[in-house]
């Protein structure tokens, strides 16, 4: 599946002009409110007509201003989960879930029973939308979109209006469904946490334009060194994302060994079976650097690597990209440390990782 989007549209003071393509898996459109992310989704769904551009899904043209093609929303077969759920108030949950099925114009993505199971909707079927909690509403909206036989799913900040426990509840559902269904998703978010947990491809937008786009790990590794990104989103800490798999569990020590391209990582509290893919998020401030391999140290994760580039100093220090046998890792250290150690691009260093966050892996990741 490939979604190709080129859209130009003036929206009040915002000049929307974006072009990106989205391979399989989850593509996250990331940016501040007002960057035009939702408008891009609406254009893909057929709810907003661009002035110029082309939108194609798997080679089928949905919109092409030059060729005069504009497929109406109801014939695009694109499921849409809105920020505010938008359940039909006159129908019960079951009626909402089955609403799209009667118009289905293509093969089903999932059976009714499977969707009910994945999203835990069994107890809600006879309830009315206004009796549901925010998280339940979003789960029903997600199920409703899945059951309309879509070829692509759009999600517009589906977690934004939820409190933390509900966020986690819906996030788990999205992760489960990513694992179970081969349905590409275009996901709008302004939360780095959602990006790290869900994205396979990252498209960063600001003021109606795409600043940078690409595979998640590479794109995140580029962020600290991208002046455009700095200017639009401020210097916040994105960290690094490493895709790994569980190699072994040490039950006695409560540790798991994770393997990735650059070697092994040890982490505690990892659930999952041997061979299962996981995503590791390492904050850059949790990475320290040493010139030589330190001994007699409590840290388990010491990875040798090479400094690939060094960013410009900012309030919180300086960011360095370390190449750990092909896997980029970002370290944030103080300017003083950089000067004291006389670190320069090309130098060999040891990266010391203090802590990692482990998430289930996405469907679009390489084996």
């Amino acid at each position: 599946m490939t979604l190709e989007v080129t859209v130009e549209k003036r929206l009040g003071s915002l000049g929307l002009s974006v072009a990106f393509s989205s391979p399989r898996g989850i593509t996250v459109l990331f940016g501040r409110s007002g960057a035009g992310k939702t408008s891009v989704l609406n254009a893909v769904a057929g709810l907003l007509r661009p002035e110029r551009g082309r939108i194609a899904l798997d080679g089928e043209t949905l919109y092409d201003s030059a060729a005069g093609v504009d497929l109406p929303a109801h014939r695009r077969r694109i499921g849409y989960v809105f920020q505010e759920a938008r359940l039909l108030p006159h129908l019960r949950v079951r009626g909402n879930l089955l609403f799209g099925a009667r118009f289905a114009r293509g093969p089903a993505v999932a059976e009714f029973a499977q969707v009910i199971d994945l999203l835990g909707l069994d107890a809600l079927l006879d309830r009315r939308p206004h009796d549901l909690s925010g998280g339940e509403r979003q789960r029903v909206a997600l199920g409703r979109a899945l059951l309309s036989a879509p070829r692509l799913l759009l999600m517009d900040e589906p977690l934004a209006s939820l409190d933390a426990p509900r966020k986690e509840e819906v996030m788990r559902c999205i992760e489960r469904l990513r694992g179970a269904l081969r349905l590409p998703i275009l996901y709008v978010s302004h939360s780095m946490d959602e990006v790290v947990r869900l994205a396979d491809t990252l498209v960063i937008m600001a003021e109606g334009r795409v600043i940078t786009a690409g595979a998640l790990g590479d794109t995140m590794a580029r962020l600290p060194f991208d002046a455009k990104f700095d200017a639009h989103l401020g210097h916040f800490e994105a960290g690094s994302v490493i895709d790994a798999r569980i190699a072994e569990h040490d039950a006695a020590m409560g540790l798991a060994r994770l393997e990735f391209g650059g070697g092994s990582l040890y982490a505690s509290g990892v659930a999952g079976s041997i061979g299962q893919r996981v995503r590791v998020h390492v904050l850059s401030r949790d990475v320290a650097l040493a010139r030589t391999r330190p001994e007699f140290i409590s840290m388990l994760n010491i990875l040798p690597g090479t400094i690939r580039r060094i960013g410009s100093p900012h309030d919180a220090g300086v960011d360095l990209e370390i190449d750990v046998r092909g896997t980029p890792l970002i370290a944030r250290i103080t300017v003083k440390s950089r000067v004291d150690l006389a670190l320069a691009p090309g130098d060999s260093v040891h990266a010391l990782i203090k802590g990692v966050a482990i998430h289930p892996a996405g469907a679009g990741q390489p084996d």
Partner: protein, 233 residues
């Protein structure tokens, strides 16, 4: 309680009101949807025309109907020749006059109801595959239903009270076009008719009251059915 003559008047009034309500439904619904959901040149003019019967003297509407739908009228002659439909001096003419007079009320109520349907819900339904017709039938119509029912009852109640356009268009023929208001008027014009006129007045009050209460109950039930227990209204 009611003598045969009064029963006849009551039955005729209900018949005229019922058919005018039914006749105005598709027209009023189409106009309401057009005005609520579409932009087109001449929209303001159409809106004004729909409201004309509300502000024009009813006698004008009655006279225009006579010109257009009379047996020698442009449309009236054609309808009689080709379809065998006659409106002039028939109860069907009374129903037609009541339809026109009730239309602005019906359209206003239905338009408000359609306006109140969140377009974002319609957009959501379209991404689920609902085309324009299915969208109207499965989202707009059910959500606007209380307002649509209300519009129909307003048209019905308005028909029960229709006087000026009816008497101008189809005259006041007992048993054919003499509805309740026309009968009351006729009775006030003859000596000794006061008592019977008063009895019919009481009947008119009860009838209107009944229609208004029925409208309120229907609205409540419909809202309940659409929005469930928690909604009060």
């Amino acid at each position: 309680m009611l003598d045969p003559q009064e029963l006849e008047i009551l039955a005729l009034s209900l018949k005229v009101a019922f058919w005018s309500m039914l006749g105005s439904l598709p027209l009023a619904l189409a106009l309401a949807w057009l005005l609520a959901r579409r932009e087109f040149p001449g929209k303001t003019l159409l809106d004004a025309c729909v409201h004309l019967p509300l502000v024009l003297p009813p006698v004008v509407i009655g006279y225009l109907l006579l010109i257009v739908f009379g047996r020698h009228g442009a449309l009236g002659a054609w309808l009689e020749t080709h379809l065998g439909w006659v409106f002039a001096f028939r109860w069907t003419g009374a129903a037609l006059a009541a339809t026109i007079m009730g239309l602005p009320l019906a359209v206003r109520a239905m338009r408000q109801a359609i306006d109140a349907v969140d377009p974002r819900l319609e957009a959501a339904a379209s991404t689920l595959g609902a085309g324009p017709m299915a969208l109207f039938a499965s989202v707009t119509l059910p959500l606007a239903l209380p307002g649509i029912l209300n519009g129909m009852l307003l048209a019905f109640a308005r028909s029960l009270g229709e006087f000026g356009a009816t008497i101008t268009f189809v005259s006041s023929i007992p048993g054919e076009t003499q509805t309740l208001p026309l009968a009351i008027y006729a009775l006030t014009q003859v000596p000794g008719g006061d008592e019977r006129a008063l009895r019919l007045c009481v009947l008119a009050v009860l009838l209107s009251l009944g229609a208004l209460i029925a409208s309120e109950l229907l609205l409540r039930r419909a809202r309940h059915a659409i929005h469930g227990e928690a909604s009060s209204g």
